[in-house]
């Protein structure tokens, strides 16, 4: 996990990053690594002003402090939502019933649990949006499935667009 400074959480809105984009997943597990491939691509495409981008890897609890330091967090992750492989989802964590939240959990502590802990400990940002993509295969491989790889740029553009929009809207 990168980009975590020594700043204390909850230091007030002035200190907060307007938008934090976090890719989550295990790069070694093929489509589970989609979020990591995405943040790498976003670095290449150019990070807009006021936006921080983080490779969240398989971090669990360590995500709480970065979450707390952002006004809005956009998570990119593999999501099992029941659709065809490479189906893209976008949802607010406020709109998903936790028990049924369809996030796959290849991580040591999955996003569901991290969000539950973030809520309980006052570390949630004002808004958290998840861009998910239905994985085709989760197995030992550094490359995405072709169907998911074909969607990579599109998802990154959507995320960047939403980030820019949010900053314009203050």
């Amino acid at each position: 996990m990168n980009n975590l400074s020594g700043k204390k959480p909850n230091e007030g809105a002035k200190e907060k990053v307007p938008i934090l984009i976090v890719g989550i997943g295990n790069l070694l597990l093929k489509d589970d690594g989609f979020g990591i491939h995405a943040v790498r691509r976003i670095y290449e495409l150019g990070v807009p002003e006021g936006v921080e981008v983080m490779d969240g890897g398989t971090s669990g609890l360590d995500l709480l402090t970065p979450f707390s330091r952002a006004k809005k967090v956009i998570v990119i992750d593999a999501v099992k939502g029941g659709g065809e492989p490479a189906t893209v989802y976008r949802f607010s964590t406020d709109d998903v019933v936790f028990e049924r939240m369809p996030v796959t959990s290849m991580h040591q502590l999955n996003l569901h649990e991290v969000i539950a802990l973030a809520r309980q400990t006052g570390n949630m940002p004002d808004e958290m949006i998840v861009y998910g993509i239905e994985p085709k295969a989760i197995e030992l491989d550094l490359e995405l499935s072709p169907e998911l790889a074909a969607k990579l740029d599109k998802v990154c553009e959507l995320v960047i667009q939403e980030a820019k929009q949010s900053i314009e809207n203050g």
Binding site: L61, L109, T121
Partner: protein, 513 residues
């Protein structure tokens, strides 16, 4: 008629560990601990600059990377004959100290407490604490993450203790965040740091740094003194039978940590030493040349037991045995032995080697042996000891505004770095030529505790601790997970790189531990 039961995975939050036991009349008669992942960092490091080991070896673990960086640096310093500045020694004590506090707090509240504490009791909360009220409404609406899934039986605490411990569970998350911030001050980032290097440490020692560190140390000390230790003492009497369950091999090993100005590992806050054959008041000197690693039951090319300084890592996966009783290889962990014996490492080993009066008094008062409860208590008392001393170390620093790091020239040589991670003794053995690694071997804490059998058939510490245990409900063997979790297993640090099968993922959820 005996039967085999399997628990996979054992860990909450961290890890990739499977255990199998053979049970006769509800009693464990045989046990096998299986590390189901392969690490391979040794191969990754070969041919690289020795300094890379400090950065790369940390990636074995996301919970306790600091001791990896420290042991790696020490190995280089021995190989190249580097003497680190005094401020670097102190800063290493401080950063490792924070790592211990974070790891121990995380272990108790987030990995182990949920085997004893029932957070769903918060549904009966009648007070005014806003956090508990929030949690109450979540639980009442059926959202019990991250407390479930679990085996929901054998919870014995009264409602008020359950509620207090759950409140502290939430506060412990914040304490873990504080630890991350303190470590990032010294290491540059968290959890994996860049501030520990061969030759010393990279942060400038300034008055501001000292002040900030004191703030973090005080906050953590307060949590440990007023919550962590009291919670452990409050829970213990309700599970006093665990004071005699899960007794390990009776052999304890500590390399020692937190050296003082004399740099004598036998004289640090946690001293070096070994205890053999259950003779717990007889602490002996340690001789690193008596360590060997066996591979008879491990997925590596067969060979004689080797000292890690001459160790080899040649993987040879022969399949998961259909029945562990068949005597086939069954784990990705090697089997380290000291003086031919399986050794327990960790807080209990360290506090016994220290002959820590607080632990010995508590054990005598509660009439408990070197058991599940003793491990949990030793961890809490060790956290308290370290928290007290971090403040002293911070005041020992000389805030001269300089980077405490020795200059040196990379060269050739052999060295080893012995240190303590929160989970126990950690050793790195290095051979370098012309600044490049020609051989690198690590024996990590869970490698000792979770080791499989050696060539003589002697089981590892977890296995010994499980054998003889009575299991009340074979479909929910909570006794076994309590035993294993008392060691604070971190198989993610024993082995890395993942081999997941769909079936195993499904099993992960159906077993629900």
């Amino acid at each position: 008629m005996s039967q085999i039961i399997t628990v996979d995975p054992v860990n909450r939050i961290e890890g990739h560990l499977k255990i199998q036991v053979e049970v006769e009349n509800n009693k464990v008669v045989n046990a096998w601990t299986m590390g189901t992942l392969y690490r391979g960092l040794e191969q990754i490091l070969r041919g690289r600059k020795a300094e890379d080991a400090v950065l790369i070896s940390q990636r074995a673990c996301g919970v306790c990377p600091i001791p990896y960086a420290t042991a790696g640096s020490k190995a280089i310093e021995m190989a190249y004959g580097i003497d680190i500045p005094e401020n670097a020694r102190i800063l290493r004590n401080i950063i490792n100290g924070f790592q211990f506090l974070g790891s121990h707090i995380l272990h108790f509240y987030h990995l182990v407490a949920l085997d004893y504490v029932d957070p769903t009791a918060v549904a009966q909360y009648t007070g005014n604490d806003p956090e508990l009220l929030d949690l109450k409404s979540l639980i009442q609406s059926g959202d019990t993450a991250p407390f479930t899934p679990r085996w929901d039986h054998d919870f014995r605490l009264p409602t008020d203790i359950n509620i207090v411990a759950t409140k502290h569970y939430i506060e412990a998350v914040r304490m873990y965040q504080r630890v991350g911030e303190a470590i990032a001050l010294l290491g540059g980032k968290f959890p994996h740091v860049v501030g520990i290097v061969a030759g010393g440490m990279t942060p400038k020692v300034t008055p501001t740094l000292v002040t900030e560190l004191i703030g973090y140390a005080k906050e953590l000390k307060d949590f440990i003194d007023t919550k962590y230790v009291p919670d452990v003492l409050a829970v213990a009497p309700y599970y006093i039978d665990y004071g005699n369950i899960g007794v390990g091999p009776g052999n304890f090993l500590a390399y020692g940590a937190f050296e003082g100005a004399d740099r004598d590992p036998y004289n640090g806050l946690l001293p070096r030493g070994v205890i053999m054959d259950g003779d717990i008041n007889n602490v002996q000197e340690f001789d690193q040349s008596r360590i060997v690693e066996h591979v008879a039951y491990s997925y590596y090319q067969d060979g004689n037991p080797r000292h890690p300084g001459d160790g080899v890592t040649e993987p040879k996966f022969t399949g998961v045995p259909s029945d562990p009783r068949r005597g086939e290889k069954y784990s990705w962990l090697k089997a380290p032995r000291y003086n031919t014996k399986a050794m327990e490492v960790g807080p209990l080993a360290r506090m016994l080697v220290r002959q820590d009066p607080n632990l010995l008094d508590l054990a005598a008062k509660l009439k408990i042996g070197p058991s599940v409860l003793a491990r949990i208590a030793a961890r809490a008392l060790e956290a308290q000891l370290i928290a007290n001393n971090i403040l002293n170390w911070i005041t020992e620093l000389k805030p001269d505004g300089k980077v405490p790091c020795a200059q040196y020239k990379p060269g050739s040589g052999r060295g080893y770095g012995l240190d303590e991670a929160p989970r126990g003794a950690i050793g790195h053995w290095l051979e370098a030529e012309g600044g490049r690694i020609t051989n690198y071997q690590m024996i990590i804490p869970t490698g000792w505790n979770a080791s499989p059998r050696d060539i003589t058939g002697q089981p590892g510490p977890y296995e010994i601790a499980m054998i003889g245990t009575e299991i009340k409900d074979l479909s929910r063997p909570i006794e076994l997970t309590r035993i294993i979790r008392s060691y604070d297993p971190c198989i993610a640090c024993a082995v890395h790189v993942v081999d997941l099968e769909k079936e195993r993922i499904a099993a992960k959820f159906t077993i629900g531990c």
